[in-house]
Amino acid sequence: MSAGVLAVGCVTSVGEDVAEVIAALKAGKTGMKDAPKGYPDPQLAQVPGPDLKLWLKRKKDARLLSRACQLALPAAGRAMAAFAGDPETLGLYVAVGREPPDADDASLAIVAMERDGQLDLERLATRGRELYPPLLPLRTLPNMILAHVSIQHGIRGENGTYTGGWSAGKQAVMAAIRAVDEGRVAFALAGGAHSNIDPFSAGDRWRVAAIERSFGRTDSEDPRYCPGEGAIFALIGPGGVPVDWESPLTEAWLQGCGDCGPVVGLAPLLAAGAHLGGPFAQA
């Protein structure tokens, strides 16, 4: 392969500068905090902020952003910070998890649909219809991170959005590396973002645990499990630093930043970023 990592940007619960994040993870620092009362897991690793004013061309677009999009924009922005090429020929490859609805939005519709503890179709067609947020579908489509990042940076080249758990991150980066290597794009932005701490994801975990218990198993009830959120993006180009997919940072990430779905598989990009000594040092 004649392509590798040229720059890395991240947003994590232990910091947002690549070198600092690696140092924190290696030192055993953690972004895990005690969860609020009533939360299904004992701890969660939440990212403070981010301040989107720095990363949005149009402030009104903030209402369109899911939590994962909010995390993706700063990470992608940092990876793109020193890019001076033509974004129109840039590729964009993004790994995503299941995109839950914003809890406040969804609860309105759900409450409106409820009758005697059951979801009711007639209620949905009447009260729920009016309360259903018109922008909700746009916040929950998996490719919205790709959409917002491409709009923000004017990226118009080849692209893809990948789903498939932890492996999706690696798929996105490898798709970018191959696209550069094969000359289909000159440069590519690749990475992923996910938030796993919302009530819907917690509800899914509760369901898995309940199902397992009904089969006499408790595999998913590991008390060390911590949901997290974060984003990592890398600028891929000719001649950059190779990605060491065996990097121990994956394990360190899990211990420091919790389970962030496809972002966990992207932790090795941080190591590549640290080797660069600054954006484009190897380019």
Binding site: M113, R129, L138, P142, S150, I151, N159, G164
Partner: protein, 402 residues
Amino acid sequence: MNNEEQGGLSGRRRVVVTGMGMVTPLGLSVEETWAALLRMECGIGPIRRFDPSGFPVAFAAEVALRGEGAELKRELTTWALREAVAGLGAAGLPSGPRVGVCLGSEAARPPLSWMSEPPEAHPSLLADLAPDAPTRQVAEAVGAEGPRSTVSTACTSSSQAIGEAMLRIRRGEVDVMVAGGVDVLSEPLMVIGFSRLGALSTRNHDPEHASRPFDRDRDGFVLGEGAGILILEEEEHARARGAPILAELAGYGCSCNAWRITDSPPDGRGPAQAMFAALADAGLAPEAIGYINAHGTSTQQNDLSESRAIATVFGPNTVPVSSTKGHIGHLVAACGAVEAIFCVLALRDGLLPAGRNLDNVDPECPINPIRGEPLARPIRYALTNAFGFGGSNGSLILGSLQ
């Protein structure tokens, strides 16, 4: 002018289509759907999956299978896969590490009853709701041990999945890929959600005439459901084992609009870039394309943007164009696969499907539409478009192997 005459592609592994399966609102197989399409039938009608009383839109393009949500997605995928594999005849579908799967799919929606029932009532549902569930199901069903991936770019998903599968074969990672897509959209929350966005046709009084791509009086798209599966294979591999060769998958291109979340750029810039990229990938000049199966959703903005893009790439009012969404509605994550299969059939039969409900071609759409009845015309290459919410565009070029 074909890709050999153009030169520059020699030595590249060629990718061919050896199997096809589909389930659509027009039929439960490729031939059933194709025959109905050529008869100008319509698969759009009143919603039967749930009681749509009081809903703003009460019609959709539903398939003739029972079920809902993830269970229906599994059924559609299985059905299409079974037909695609059966079409391989005695050659069968190989298994093992040189066979991969790449499907376009979105997350399934849980049934409304789900949240008020105990989790033990649906032990496999959580895993089946994931966007990559159909990919996993297909890989397990056929014993594919090679790469698996799932592309989730809304309406462009299966077009990009087929393109990515083609690239994996070309670069020698695998010899065979099962590619395509599946989606189920005739669901209460989808109807409400897309209605609130103002994207759906509201012709409740006349569902059969609701989806009218490129027509002056179009008012939105029609939610559909279905699945399309293609078996893609390296040409020499297919020949050596006696698999039927139905067409060549000659080119793939994709792009981002970087414009707006729901709108296509009015000048068609992003879609044009995808078509140019597909032509370059296939080594073809625009005049080599004999038919375009347009994305043609029947929304004002898509049809305007796409027709201008087609005019940019091919010239105004030149290549015969139709959108088959007038017959089958919008299958979203499955549309790219189903419409790629229509292109293979058009190449095979020399019959180009006509657009339905195209009573008054929008004068703002500078295309050469096929309407009224299918156009009998042998062609060598066909191009199919898929453009999605969020601005992802995908174009595929299918060719006959002469």
